[in-house]
Amino acid sequence: MLGSRIDDDRGTATAGGHRKVPATPDVAELRVVRKTPVADGVLTLELAAPSGGRLRDWTPGAHVDLALPNGLTRQYSLCGDRWDPFTYRVGVLREPVGRGGSAFVHDELAVGDVVGVGGPRNNFPLVPSDSYLFVAGGIGITPLLPMVHQAELLGADWRLLYGGRRRASMAFLDDLAAYGDRVLVRPEEEFGLLDLAGFLGDPRPGVRLYSCGPAPLLAAMETVTAGWPRYALRTERFLAEERGAPVRTTPFEVELARTGVTVTVPPGVSVLDAVGEAGVEVLSSCRQGICGTCECGVLAGDPDHRDSLLDDEERAAGDTMYICVSRSRSDRLVLDL
């Protein structure tokens, strides 16, 4: 496997001149390679690099930002197999009240289409423990799927309570069947509301609780676990919000404040490369938004963050960016270079 990848290793492509600059890997884009219905109103997308190369590594609980061809950016939890470095899998629910992200994925997005990608980032990491209780509501099962796999792999004691409206609308029941009675599938139509208190039992030190689903479920979890130790419960809100300005597909300008130079960054060229071509050398390393080496201060403008490093708060601050992968939402960015 390795050998075949070395033959067409893009990282070693040589450009002329004194610098042999490796071609920027196409980390900013993914191609849809499979689209599979998995339950009523739920499908999975499998995504791969257009070059067929490795994708950025991820851990259970991580999500990617997908910039869809219709200009919307949506966040999706990764629910595939991290031991497969070439494919991401995400689950997408058709949301009746969404602003068109999920409807677009269901109705328009086709195998072969290319989407922009940011991350993966993880705000919902699986912390070490001997014992876990997982509670999923609906499509909130997606980040928990790789978590239960990992808990099983580590030999932890774990159980999953999985609620949904109807059995037919609940995804991944086949995958979960393999875990036997560690998994409780509780569609509301058959069982009524989830019995959270009964499932969780009395507070026990060391047990970690994970929950993902709609806001009412998370609110109920907060209430029911009030007597549990601090930090026992970790939740992730259903990743539904859609972010502001659409991702641009047109060139933008980057002004280097200290150097006094302005460069134009066309689509398909990283800010790092564009700045380097203008003769301003910025040190980089991974060129994937992972290591943090290429960090630049942002003095003005609205960065389009694609890295795996900044959390939401740091992104919102807008004062720093990783120019190997991140781009611009505004016509102009001013960098502290």
Partner: protein, 403 residues
């Protein structure tokens, strides 16, 4: 070099000993020979595989699925042999166990977390340089600058007690020797292992660490349940093992490079913002960490050959960093080069967690020196310090000319 290269199965083989004193003294001829022999070479003396070209080393480093670290990143195979100390939760761990310690340590050592240290370290470097220059302009740079500076700032940043800090360098030296074979370098460190390990374990405890610092931040993460209280001291230990000797040798590398390339020092003087590039170029050129092993998790195909499951593969980071297939004129230390992408800090999920710390230390020291020093030259013969993994200097006599 006396190594003979052969090939019976089509896979080139070499009987060279990469840990032989003569090779450690000057590894470049063996590196070149292994690179030229092919994408992969069998090292018959240890029955291990070796990669010395950039493309293969880079590809294997990022491929944690097929090339694991959990069986040890030294010659010793933890599948069959007991490690000399409890394995590192970072360096010698695979996902999923690697995940939580890695996440915590990268956040504790992130560029954003280091911002609050920046001004202090720059001021500390200026004070040190002033002290040194007022005592004289001819000295051995290793004790006076390249060891002195990290030892002045890093243990404080971790929050270590004053007492016993002299143990840090010998402990690290032994840990990096222990990645190699059980040779005389390992034997030399063996008598002090128990004592040094005891000191290290004692200062990784919460009670021993200052209330603020990298150590305290790691313990705070355990309070939040991000790692367990059992993991916290071992993650602090990673800082002590990996964070001192490496930067000392990295700083020695960059000063030696400037002393032997006066034109490059002039460039840095003209453009002090090149300090960051200069350090990474030195890390590429000298590769303070020369080698690390991986272990095949299955029968892994590399080109036309197969590395059998459980075999050790020696990654020559230093050789990859001078591979002419990747770098123009690789043997020259040149600030006009873009050293980005070198594997001197590794690559992939184990890439150096302390790289921003190392860069900040060097930026502070180089900036302070560039402010006052017009030129740097060697004032006498240099001496190497031999280590099975590290490329390092015992002594770099320098003569500085100040403005």
């Amino acid at each position: 070099m006396t190594a003979t290269l052969g090939s019976s199965t089509g896979l080139p083989t070499s009987d060279a000993d990469p840990f032989d004193h003569a090779v450690l003294e000057d590894p470049l001829p063996l590196q070149a020979a292994l690179r030229e022999a092919g994408p992969m070479v069998h090292l018959s003396r240890y029955d291990v595989y070796a990669m010395a070209r950039y493309a293969e080393v880079h590809a294997a480093l990022v491929d944690w699925q097929e090339f694991q670290s959990g069986a040890g990143v030294g010659l010793s195979n933890f599948r069959f042999e007991k490690p000399w100390r409890p394995p590192s939760l970072l360096l010698e761990a695979d996902p999923p166990k690697h995940d939580a310690p890695r996440r915590v340590l990268t956040s504790v050592l992130s560029p954003r977390a280091l911002r609050r240290l920046r001004d202090r370290w720059i001021a500390d470097a200026e004070v040190l340089v002033d002290e040194v220059l007022s005592a004289g302009t001819e000295f051995d740079a290793v004790p006076v600058l390249t060891s002195a500076f990290p030892l002045r700032v890093f243990p404080d940043a971790v929050g270590l007690p004053q007492e016993g800090r002299e143990n840090l360098l010998p402990y690290g030296d032994h840990a990096f020797n222990a990645f190699g074979p059980d040779n005389d370098l390992v034997a030399r460190g063996a008598p002090r292992v128990a004592e040094l390990s005891g000191w290290v374990a004692s200062v990784c405890r919460r009670e021993a660490l200052a209330p603020e610092g990298f150590g305290a931040s790691i313990w705070a993460a355990s309070d939040r349940g991000e790692i367990t209280p059992e993991q916290a001291p071992l993650i602090v230990r990673s800082l002590l093992t990996a964070g001192v000797d490496t930067t000392v040798h990295g700083l020695s590398a960059v000063l030696y490079a400037f002393a032997t390339h006066p034109g490059q020092w002039e460039r840095l003087r003209e453009q002090p913002s090149l300090a960051r590039v200069a350090f990474d170029e030195a890390v590429r050129w000298e590769s303070p960490v020369q080698t690390f092993f991986r272990t095949a998790t299955t029968d892994v195909r590399v080109g036309d050959h197969v590395v059998p499951d459980g075999s050790k593969i020696l990654m020559f980071l230093g050789a990859a960093n001078r591979d002419p297939r990747r770098w123009d004129d690789p043997d020259s230390f040149d600030l006009s080069r873009d050293p980005s992408g070198h594997v001197g800090f590794g690559m992939g999920i184990h890439q150096c967690a302390g790289q921003h710390v190392a860069r900040l230390e060097s930026e502070a020291l180089l900036t302070a020196l560039a402010r006052r020093v017009r030129s740097i030259e060697l004032a006498g013969p240099t001496a190497r310090h031999l280590n099975n993994t590290l490329r390092s200097w015992e002594s770099i006599p320098l003569r500085l000319h100040v403005d």
